[in-house]
C-alpha cells in the first residue's frame, strides 16, 4: 500500500508526460490528441482529429476548498461535450481510509456515464462505504462541484430543461 502510493507520487512527479497521457487515454480512449492544459477554470481538451470529444480537469483545481480526512483528494475527471462523465482517475490522496473507499475500481466505475445533472448524493445514486464516510462524501462533493463548474463554464446547456 505504502509502496503503491509512493510509486504513484514518483510517477506523477518524475514519470511525467507518459503517465498523464495514459490517464487521459483512460478517460477518452478514442482521442487522438490532447490540448495543453489551459483556460480558467483550467482543463485539457480531448480531440479525435478535429472533433472535440470533451474536457479533462482536476477536481483540486475546480473546487479548491474541498478536502477529506487528509487534505484534498486529487481526481482527474473526464466529461464529454454533453455533460456526461466519461470516467475518473483518482490521482493522489492522503485519506487514511481511502484504500477501501475511493481506490477500488468500483468507485470510479459508478461515475462513468453519469449526467452532470444527476444528484450525486452519497447513499442515493452513489454507493456509500461505511467506515469511510468523511472520505467518500468529500470525494463525491468534489466530483459534483467540479463537474458542474466545468459544465457551467464551457458547455452549452441542453435546449430543453430537465423535467425535474
Amino acid at each position: 500500500m505504502l509502496s503503491l502510493l509512493a510509486a504513484s507520487v514518483a510517477l506523477t512527479t518524475a514519470g511525467g508526460q507518459s503517465t498523464a497521457d495514459a490517464r487521459l487515454k483512460r478517460l477518452f480512449p478514442t482521442a487522438t490528441t490532447f490540448s495543453p492544459k489551459g483556460g480558467d477554470p483550467p482543463h485539457i481538451k480531448a480531440f479525435n482529429g478535429e472533433t472535440l470529444l470533451g474536457y479533462a480537469f482536476w477536481t483540486t483545481e475546480l473546487s479548491p476548498l474541498e478536502r477529506g480526512y487528509g487534505g484534498p483528494i486529487v481526481i482527474l475527471l473526464g466529461m464529454d461535450t454533453k455533460g456526461i462523465l466519461t470516467g475518473l482517475v483518482v490521482i493522489e490522496h492522503h485519506e487514511p481510509y481511502g484504500d477501501f473507499s475511493i481506490e477500488p475500481p468500483a468507485f470510479a466505475a459508478q461515475f462513468k456515464g453519469k449526467d452532470v445533472r444527476d444528484p450525486f448524493k452519497l447513499g442515493e445514486d452513489i454507493d456509500a462505504v461505511s467506515r469511510a464516510t468523511i472520505t467518500m462524501s468529500s470525494a463525491v462533493r468534489t466530483i459534483r462541484a467540479s463537474a458542474r463548474r466545468m459544465a457551467r463554464s464551457y458547455l452549452t446547456p441542453p435546449s430543453a430543461s430537465p423535467s425535474k
Partner: protein
Amino acid sequence: MTTVRRRRFLIVLGLAAAIASAAGTLSATGSTQATSNVGQKPAFVLAQAPAPKEEGKWNFDEEEEAAPTWADDIRAQALDITLVAAFSALAFVSFFRKSVRLHYVSLVASVVYLGFYKSQLISIVNVFGLMGGNLPIFRYNLGWYLLAAITAISTVLWGRVYCGRICAFGAFTQLVDAIVPKRWRVNIPRAIERRASWIKYGILASVVAYFLITKDPLIYPYVEPFWMFGLHLRTPVLLTLLGTLLITTVFVRNAYCRFLCPLGAFLGIVSNLTVFRIKRWSECSTCRICEKTCEWGAIQGPRIVMTECVRCDDCERLYADTKKCPHHLILIRKADILARRAAQQ
C-alpha cells in the same frame, strides 16, 4: 502552586485561542464554494439567487435553491449527531455517578456503537490532521466534530476519560479483562510497568515524525488496532500484529492502552492540564490500598499520575468507602474516642 496554576491557565487560554482560530478558518472554508479563490471570476458562484427554470440553463439544484442549506446539512446528519450525543451522555453519566453497572453498560455501548456500528474512533490520524492542518470540513462532519470536541474538552477537564469510557478498543479490552479468569492474568511488576508506560510516547513521537517527513498517514494500522472493528485491512503482517496484540490482551490487562497507544500518549500529554483532579487524603501518603487496586498503574504513592489515569473510578469508589478507606476509619475512630471521653466526663 500559584505558578503552576498560572501556567495551566495560560495553556488553557492558548488552547482556547487555537481552537477559536481553527474554528474561524473552518467555518470560512466550510461555507459554500461560492467564496472561491480570490481573483477567480465570479461566474461560477454556486449559491446564487434563485434562477427561474429557463430554456438553455443548467438548472442545477444550487441555482434553484435560494437559501443557504445549513439546515439541510444538519438535518442530513441529525441521526449521527443524536447518536454521538446520546452515547457520550451515557458515558459521562456513568462517569459522574461512579456507577459500576452503568460503566459496563457504556463499555458495551462503546464496542457495539462506536466500534462496530460507527467505526470512527478518534485516532492518531486526527493527530496527524492537527499537525498538518488538515481537518475534515466542519459543516459536513458535525458528528465527528462533536466527538472530537467532547474528547478534547473532557481531557482538559478530567483527564483521559476518553480512553477509559469512549474509545471502543479500550472498552473492548476492559470487557475482555472482566471476562477472562483472574488466574490467567500476568501481573507485570510495577517497576517494569512504569518503564513500559513510556513506550507509547516513543511510538507517538516516531509516528508523528514519520508523518511529518513522509506526509503519509497510512502508518496508522501498524500502531493502532482500531481497524479491527471493520477488518478492512487484511494483509498478513497486520493480521499477525493484531492477533499478537489480542492474545497479549487476554493475559496482560489493557496492555495496548497502558503501553502502546500513541493517541493515549497524546491525550496523556494534554491531560497534564486536568482541571478537576482526583481528591487525595493526607492518609494517602502512607496507605497503599488505591495504589494496589489501580488497574492502570496510575498511582505512585501519594501521587496520581494523570497521564496514565483514565478515570476508571476504582480509587474514587475506595475513597468513598467508609469501611475500607483509612481516612474514614481514622475519622470514625476519632469520633468514637471523643464520644467515649465525653461520656466519661
